[in-house]
């Protein structure tokens, strides 16, 4: 927002040393951010390149760096997509409840309750997932295997501990729920009041009003809320590292004991004891994760960007 300050007069405004210094500091801080992000890309590439030049046999697994990273990419996408499938409808419902269904005075506190979900550290979600949620998911898995076992997703055999990709997806869904909800709520509230009242005046029920005025207005916002939630789910580390029982496979089976790991969880599990080329391989996988989340967030922001007045979610 430019502040129109300089009075256009015949004499240019006086140059003050303080002004120059302060402007320099502010610009410097901005440039530092550019430099830092360039640094992320450069240093990750610098540390990751040795993984590509090293002999295939030196890479863990012995089949080269691409073969090492691919199952991880697959696991990352699988977990994030499950989370997205659960969280998107739920977040739309919750946001609608807060914006259009709850009593007006309760809307603020209820929104705060959902925001509290975002305040819980991921490692605590991990504890909750492993000790509380995972064991309680097992009966559901057994039911899924018995009745929907013909689908590749629920082929089984069912894990007895519940440490499966589906449990991870549920925990991730809970973790991305607050950010998606906050964004959805914001766009729902921006629906022009006149549209809503016109619909109601024509005799629409509340749900018809929502379908005819709120959803068309909020469509791009809902897409970007889902994309930003997806970006968050892709990079989530600790909950996955603690809950998932991993092996080096590519499978769509989400209720068994053998699951592909995710990039982030794999780094967290292996990095503390890694040495030599393995460090470079892990950094290279981190670079892949950075690029994937960057792409997802870029698309999400681009969709939001078409709505000028919209402020980014935080």
């Amino acid at each position: 927002m430019p502040t129109s300050t300089s009075v256009e007069s015949t004499t240019s405004p006086p140059r003050r040393a303080g002004d120059q210094l302060f402007k320099g500091l502010a610009t410097g801080a901005g440039v530092l951010i550019v430099v830092a992000l360039a640094g992320v890309a450069i240093f990750l590439t610098y540390e990751g390149v040795p993984a590509f030049t090293a002999a295939k046999s030196e890479i863990p697994g012995g089949n080269g760096v691409v073969a090492y990273i691919w199952p991880l990419v697959f696991g990352t996408l699988l977990g994030a997509v499950i989370a997205l499938l659960i969280a998107t409808p739920l977040s739309i419902g919750v946001a609608l409840f807060i914006s259009h269904y709850a009593p007006r005075r309760l809307a603020g506190p209820l929104g705060y309750l959902i925001d509290l979900l975002a305040a819980v550290p991921s490692v605590v979600y991990g504890l909750w997932g492993i000790y509380f949620l995972a064991p309680r998911m097992v009966p559901l898995f057994e039911w899924l295997e018995k009745h929907l076992g013909f689908l590749p997703f629920f082929a089984g055999p069912t894990s007895v501990t519940g440490r499966t990709m589906l449990s991870v997806g549920v925990v991730l869904a809970v973790m991305i729920l607050p950010i998606s909800t906050a964004l959805n709520r914001e766009v729902f509230l921006q629906t022009p009041r006149l549209h809503e009242e016109a619909a109601l005046a024509l005799g629409a029920t509340r749900w018809e009003m929502v379908r005819m005025t709120v959803f068309p207005h909020a469509r791009s916002g809902m897409v970007s809320a889902a994309m930003l939630g997806l970006g968050r789910a892709l990079g989530e580390t600790m909950a996955v590292a603690m809950i998932l029982s991993v092996s080096d496979v590519v499978t769509f089976n989400v209720i068994s004991n053998t699951n592909p790991s995710t990039i982030a969880a794999n780094i967290a599990l292996k990095f503390p004891e890694a040495t030599g080329v393995e460090v470079n391989v892990l950094v290279a996988s981190g670079l892949a994760l950075f690029l994937i989340t960057f792409a997802v967030n870029f698309v999400g922001r681009a969709v939001v960007g078409r709505r000028k007045e919209f402020s980014a979610a935080n």
Binding site: E208, F294, N297
Partner: protein, 360 residues
């Protein structure tokens, strides 16, 4: 109201002829609550007959939703029935979203509270095998690492926001705005890898250092600070700036003395929330700050324990028997959650009491 209309004819009379009915038939106001109660009764009955809670609750819920929709369809017609269905689904979605929050907080408090004691808060884990020990080293580490991260992020974040709001024009400002958006999306573990890749150049392979953890965290914290400060600075009315310029105040003094103080409550709120967000970060610290059982107060040398890493470590590498580690993990989780909730509460209070009143 339909109920008032219905009092006109005698109770046992046939329904009024169509031309005198002024309003469509309606379910009574208590219908949703009534069906919810029926659903609850069904769930409780199922539970007492030995059905698992994971089956009883969904069945009771289905009774509520299907019953209400069907009754509405019979009495009120299809459109109203759809509306009732949507309302009950949306309300259920909200309650479902509260379920994890409720169970999580209950678990953390019920399992963590018995562990808390003076010893737990003031002992480190040095030479502790089995029972005992505490999280003093982790609390100290978390405070030091977070404070350093804040010391890096707050000046950079505020000055960037000042640049974007007060000076920024053209390509550089657009690029910075875009990159701040990118930064908010950086996975925390990538921030940790970045700090490692940076420090390994200077200190060699296997570097672990508390300060490097602060650098990683500040990469995550800066965009949060920039975003919130930017929003707050934009709220400062332009008239204030123009009044200062009219009095001949230099631009930088206007910003420092007028603009920032006006937005200060909002800025502090944003910073507090940002601190609350990063204090629970685990992944970057696991990578670059490392783990140790001893108290290390020097962020520039050696491994430094932090609370999230402590929780993870107690879970991941339990001793024999493992119960004591699990207890410590829950205790530390409770302390960490309390700290974060207090920070969030403080942010709310600051913005409530100190921000300029927006009422006209």
């Amino acid at each position: 109201m339909a109920t008032q209309l219905k009092t006109d004819p005698p109770r046992d009379a046939p329904p009024a002829p169509a031309e005198t009915r002024w309003e469509a038939a309606k379910l009574p106001r208590w219908a949703p609550l009534g069906f919810a109660a029926v659903g609850l009764v069904v769930a409780v009955l199922l539970r007492t007959t030995g059905t698992g809670i994971a089956l009883a609750v969904p069945v009771g819920w289905a009774v509520f939703v299907v019953g209400l929709t069907a009754a509405s369809r019979i009495v009120e017609g299809g459109r109203k029935a759809t509306d009732r269905l949507a309302t009950s689904l949306i309300s259920s979605a909200f309650l479902l979203a509260l379920l994890p929050l409720g169970t999580l907080l209950f678990q953390v408090v019920s399992k963590g509270a018995p562990v808390l004691s003076g010893q737990f808060l003031t002992y480190s884990m040095r030479n502790v095998v089995g029972e005992g020990g505490g999280i003093y080293h982790a609390i100290a580490g978390t405070l030091i690492v977070t404070a350093l991260a804040a010391a890096i992020s707050i000046p950079v974040g505020i000055m960037t926001a000042v640049y974007l709001v007060e000076y920024g024009q053209g390509r550089l400002a657009a690029a910075i705005t875009f990159l701040v958006d990118v930064m908010t999306g950086i996975p925390s573990i990538v921030a940790g890898l970045f700090a490692y890749a940076l420090f390994v150049i200077f200190f060699g392979e296997g570097i672990r250092m508390g300060f490097a953890g602060s650098v990683a965290l500040s990469l995550l914290m800066i965009p949060l600070v920039v975003r919130s400060c930017e929003e707050m600075l934009k709220l400062v009315p332009n008239e204030l700036r123009e009044a200062a310029y009219a009095l001949g105040v230099p631009k930088w003094r206007t910003i420092v003395k007028i603009v920032i103080p006006t937005a200060l409550a909002g800025i502090i709120t944003g910073i507090t929330i940002a601190v609350a967000r990063i204090i629970g970060e685990t992944a970057p610290l696991l990578i670059i700050a490392g783990a140790t059982d001893s108290t290390n107060l020097n962020p520039f040398s050696g491994r430094m324990m932090t609370m999230p890493v402590f929780i993870y470590g107690q879970y991941k590498n339990p001793g024999i028997p493992p119960e004591f580690s699990q207890e410590r993990a829950w205790g530390a989780a409770l302390v960490l959650t309390i700290i974060i909730m207090l920070l969030n509460l403080a942010a709310r209070l600051i913005s409530y009491y100190f921000s300029p009143k927006t009422k006209a």
